[in-house]
């Protein structure tokens, strides 16, 4: 580890060595994997289902397409994509975290989602797929935890087919000041306590709140997507900007 600023990266509000972030994020998700779904419902009051459904509706997914769900975690998006691409299509659920991947795999198999879903443990920065492979790539609540976001976006652009689209669903910056304050209070006072109560892990949820604040806001992320080569980049604010859905195309 070195003290040089260029070699460090944010981990929540802390600065850590670049090569350490991946391991630290992994620890967070190893810790919460089992309770991940319950916590999502509790923390977002179930609204995360609507955010994800909106993402699917915007994806334009058709039967027979190939979809990559990066940081797919417990497989919420994969499940819906799997139904929509049908037996001729394919959905790849990729997650860097082994614990999350196995929770997702078990959950989907229990729900009878088999046949057109495969599971890959992969780093978003170096996706292990050939160029021009996927029609749609989604990354829902995952980009925040990636160490080098631009590198990850470039990697996604590479594996996307020409004409394909990337959908980034991620926490963002609320557009109203009042909402912003209420949201801050909720994130730093209520959230870690709920994390402690339900998942027995306050630190992971403290990290969650901090990492959301450190994540680039709507326009910055839009700029980053354009910088690596995505075209017609646009975003929709959902729930007052607490979450934003960014869309970009490869032509």
């Amino acid at each position: 580890m070195t003290d040089k600023a260029s070699d460090t990266i944010d981990f929540g509000y802390k600065k850590v060595a670049k090569n350490a972030k991946q391991g630290l994020v992994a620890d967070v998700f190893h810790s919460v994997a089992g309770k991940y779904d319950v916590m999502n419902d509790v923390m977002s009051f179930g609204i995360h289902r609507l955010w994800k459904r909106y993402t699917i509706d915007c994806s334009g997914v058709r039967a027979g397409q190939k979809v990559l769900d990066i940081a797919g975690g417990t497989g919420d998006l994969t499940e819906q994509f799997s139904r929509r691409v049908g037996p001729q299509g394919e959905v790849v659920l990729a997650d860097i975290n082994n614990s999350m991947l196995s929770v997702g795999r078990d959950r989907l198999r229990n729900r009878g989602i088999v046949g057109n879903v495969s599971y890959v443990q992969a780093n978003a920065e170096e996706l292990p797929f050939a160029d021009d492979t996927f029609d749609i790539i989604t990354i829902a609540f995952g980009l925040r935890n990636v160490t080098d976001k631009s590198k990850a976006l470039a990697s996604m652009l590479r594996v996307l087919k020409p004409g394909g689209r990337l959908l980034v669903l991620e926490f963002s910056k609320p557009t109203h000041e009042m909402l912003n304050q209420a949201y801050d209070f909720y994130s730093f006072n209520v959230l870690p306590k709920m994390g402690q109560l339900i998942a027995g892990d306050a630190d992971s949820y403290q990290y969650l709140a901090e990492s959301i604040r450190m994540h680039p806001d709507q326009d910055t992320l839009k700029g980053m997507m354009e910088a690596v080569g995505f075209e017609q980049v646009s975003y929709d604010n959902l729930t007052g900007g607490i979450v934003a859905l960014h869309r970009g195309y490869k032509f």
């Binding site: 609204i47 459904r53 909106y54 509706d57 915007c58 334009g60 039967a63 139904r83 929509r84």
Partner: protein, 202 residues
Amino acid sequence: MRLLSLVPLLLIERCLNDLLALDDASDERLQSLQGKRLRVELEELGQPLTAAVHGRQVVLSSADTDAVDCTIRTRLAVLPELQDTANITRLIKADALDIDGDIMLAQQFSQLFLQLDIDWETQLAQRIGDVPAHWLGSVFKRSQSWLKQQTKDQQQWLQEVLVEEKRVLVGKTEFDIVKTQLQELRARIDRLERRWREQESS
């Protein structure tokens, strides 16, 4: 706002799919619609509604802006009129309806629900058990046939009052007799007329 409008949509979608799952014949109808997409733009709704069939489910969306197989632009009040295909040309001419794409598709979508034939007694039996379901079913059938009998009796009574007591209308037999007599009279007149013309000319 985007998300709020999703809530009723998801509830409706759930109900529709639950209904479809109750009828075994739905699978066949869904099969012919596989991958097809229909968009309805109602003036009253403000945002387009897209329906698509994926596997054994109908999926509704208000955010979907991708290409569809058929788009219908109209007003809520016009929808019931679309049941009859004969109306379509007239509605288009009256600017009350605009169709882009395959019109048959729209009808197939509506048939999906109009042709639903659900065996409620079987469905009920799976939920509350065979005996109560059978009892409810037979109560329903009995009340239905009672209702039918009552309507028939009432009609019979009304008929008797009008024909026999008040003599406002004539009965069928009486009418038939008069009709036959009239026809015979007509025939006799015709014969007489012919004979008269023959004698006149000779």
